[in-house]
Symmetry: C2
Subunit: 200 residues, 2 copies
């Protein structure tokens, strides 16, 4: 059984949002599972010196136009959120909490979180906002709130972020296929090629 492809992302990363629509179908047609791994991009930015894309002179304006046209091209909803970027601790912790109970549910939650934030432009940084978007998936508000205030889940997200850094993840989305790092939503073709060829 080949290793799953790892999909590292931050819920506040527009290019991760676009990649999230394609990564599963790209890999599953090639016999690979995909392991979704949210982490905190902010921790990485401290190492690389990067800034949120929309705040970089010139590049910021370019990216806002690019996200709009990618939405049209991919035929997926795109709404530039007023709150951007946001803290994604609550969303990412919820993901791992759900993942330990039911990986498929965690993935559904992640898709719903992305759609709420970038599809409809709604802030998902608060625990209440996360609970609200998770409710239709059968996630209990009180249980979620209790889980998120537990130090264990806080540590878990720290550990996941550190693991990502340890394997070389420096941006999002970032994919690892059999140890090979591939960065960016523009490189889905490279994942496919790697799996088909087993390298270059």
């Amino acid at each position: 059984m080949p290793e799953p492809v790892k999909f590292y992302f931050d819920f506040s990363s527009p290019y991760s949002y676009f990649a999230s629509f394609k990564i599963d179908e790209t890999c599953e047609g090639l016999g690979r599972e995909v392991s979704w791994r949210p982490f905190l991009l902010g921790a990485l930015f401290k190492i690389t010196g990067a800034q949120p894309l929309n705040t970089v002179p010139m590049k910021g304006e370019y990216c806002e136009n690019d996200w709009q046209r990618l939405g049209r091209y991919m035929n997926v909803p795109w709404t530039m959120p007023e709150a951007f970027p946001i803290a994604t601790q609550a969303t990412a912790r919820t993901f791992y909490w759900l993942h330990d109970q039911d990986p498929a549910l965690a993935k559904k939650f992640a898709k719903e979180a992305f759609m709420t934030y970038f599809g409809r432009g709604q802030d998902i940084s608060s625990v209440d906002a996360v609970a609200e978007l998770a409710a239709p998936l059968g996630v209990d508000h009180a249980a979620l709130q209790a889980a998120l205030s537990d130090d264990k889940i806080k540590q878990r997200l720290k550990d996941e972020t550190q693991s990502a850094i340890d394997v070389g993840v420096f941006g999002a989305p970032y994919f690892i296929v059999d140890g090979e790092g591939i960065w960016g939503s523009d490189r889905m073709w490279m994942i496919r090629r790697w799996i088909e060829r087993g390298g270059w």
Copy 2:
């Protein structure tokens, strides 16, 4: 007659090197000329705060691997130059000097400069190095040397760089198709789509 696609690049940009192999055939099959426009990336970096890719923590190592695998994938020579990045004033000024006499010769020169630097890993920053690589194209060493010491050609490159900045170029390679900016060697497909569809 539709406007040419503008291809903005710096001779010290690896992703521009890779794009240079594909931009002409991508556009010409769609009935578009390509206007090659070297500029000085360093002037932009002062605005955007960007750093040479190989000096960014984590991203630097990733990119060095990425350039190797892109070379293999595209079946084009790749040698990481010991001197990187380099000053590209002499190369870019030579390009514009030749361009004013013979645009086709300027493009041939640009391809030879890229091949010398990234294909064979040889430093092309000095006037002598530029003269040497231009000689087989029939460019006279003394005439080149005289041209490059003229203030007019220095001003020309400054103006070209400022024009690039004025139209929003913030990195390289950067393409402009009918006013629409498209950044990166991963986005050649987007140029094609824009031309075929006349937009999104």
